[in-house]
Amino acid sequence: MTQPGAVTAPQPHVAHQSHHEELGFWRQYVFSVDHKVIGIQYAITGLLFLLFGFSLMMLMRWQLAYPGAALPLVGNLFGEARMPGGTMLPEFYNELGAMHGTIMVFLGVVPLAVGGFGNFVVPLQIGAPDMAFPRLNMASYWFFFLGGVTMLASFFVPGGAAQSGWTSYTPLSVLAGTGQTMWLIGMLFLITSSLLGAVNFITTIIQLRVRGLTFMRFPFFVWTQLVTSFLLLLAFPPLQAAAIMQMMDRVAGTSFFMPSGLVVSGQVLTAAGGGNPLLWQHLFWFLAHPEVYVLILPAMGIVAEVIANNTRKPLWGYRSMVYSLMFLGFMSFLVWAHHMFMTGMGTAMAAFFQTTTMIISIPSVVILTALLISLWGGSIRFNTPMLFALGFLPMFGIGGLTGLPLGFNVSDIPLHDTYYVIGHFHYVVAPGTIFALFAGVYYWYPKATGRKMNETLGKIHFFGSLVCMNVIFMPMFLMGLAGVSRRLFDGGETYAFAQPVLHLNVVSSWGAWILAIFQIPFIFNFFWSIWKGEKTDENPWQATTLEWAAPSPPPHGNFLEPPQAYRGPYEYSVPGAARDYTPQHEA
């Protein structure tokens, strides 16, 4: 076909060489089109939302540990409508639960992992001057920001924020208050942001990689971002469609998710009916299962980078890791209904989804095993990023292995509505993904600022967090196996069979509050090191990938001269070489 672009065109705009000096404050730090500034904006906003979501959970943990007791000190701040006399009302607990999930997943982890690290690191690792569409990149951030503001604002509408869980199951969510409408509007903003981001990432990775950087020379992190972007691109639109339909149900009175003859509080609803509540679950999990991999894949990418760097060895089985990654991306669209075994699924369908679920665990195990074997025989440097990366491996392992019983219909049914599920996915996401994200913060901080974060504070942060995370989530498995429901606002107080394990709620809660204390060294370290951290050159970790060829912090346009890749990403300890690392850009 005719390709007008194929013809050599005269180069316009030659006069625009280095105009970044002239930008004012607003264009440089707020409405910036520079991928590094946008990445840092995403990262800081994401970290703040993680802290906020964590605070919501700490409130819930009070209610679970001491049901009905007035919350000391801060209890009276939430007003008579939510916590009369400092005692939490069930409606407020539901708000906290729904918004904790939504904020952690859509406003905390994904923006930090994809928006933050993806934006900052990927163009550097492929040697590009910026993202392929810088202005679109800025739009992604601001759509995300609007989504976040909408979610926060929903706490202040009459009736409060969404209360139907982060999954917003219908028909409950259709009948819920105004907060749910805000939730849907917020989600539409966040989806738009993710879609624009995904288009940008894929185009950037394919088009802007430098000469010599073939696909099999990509750092593993770039691969994870590429697969993640495809997941976002193709899995989010079905949720978008579902959100539009739920919005129609709520605003225009349609019945997409409303079955005929629904009776609420003794009254038959007047809606036309004929809808299917399961449709929402299908569309939601069609997104949300791939979303699980959106949460975990960038984390694996960060861990792979840090492990290769600190074992001073090439990754073991790089190719098998890449192929596993692609297979994960492909299979993640075929397992969604294992979240729906409780809906009365027939045996044929259950058999299909159990099989695909067991198959999809194989590539995850391959990647984790490859990372574990990579440690073998390495001269490991135990710095803070490495500690977090090493912490990730067993924590994600526990999360993954406890997921297996949930992949089988027979064992899922008794476990599904219990704390076992909460324990399982939090092990994957909290001490799993979030540890990897911390590893990334400590690892790439010198690139962003030109200074290292403090090691001692980092180690306090790591060991404190590691212990607390296990204190929080390990008891949940025991409570779940004892059959305690995960949806009760009093933590199961009224059930006789729950009594022997109820004290574990107190253990969990104290774990959570102490975990908060161990985040203080991190927050202090993060700001203190900007001005006082140890100064570094452009490659403080003696790493091989391309981002370390740029100055720290890299200027607008990144590289002083365009780099070229001459070798694979992890050429550490090459026999006969003068140093124990050979950077990709060295001929």
Binding site: V7, P10, L234, G344, A348, M349
Partner: protein, 107 residues
Amino acid sequence: MTSDHITVDHAADIDRQVRVYVVVFVALLALTLVTVAVSYLDLPPAMAIAVALLVATVKGSLVACYFMHLISEKKLIYVVLVITAIKFVALLALPAVTHSNGFWIDE
């Protein structure tokens, strides 16, 4: 600057293309009339659905192949579209998954 850079290579090519566009246009109009005409025949539902979707698919393919130039696109675009097509099939399996006999107990 003139646009010679573009036209020199493609002048003959584009004239051929324009003739193709006109042919496709006529075909699309004809198929639209066919599908409307068939709907007045009151065929049995299965038959009607099959014919309507077949005609729509042919029309859609004409648009995609010729107006959107997919017939001669680069390999990378095909890769993206094949991945999308696989996920799309999974998505369309969703009603079947819900309603097929024995898959969901209440159906």
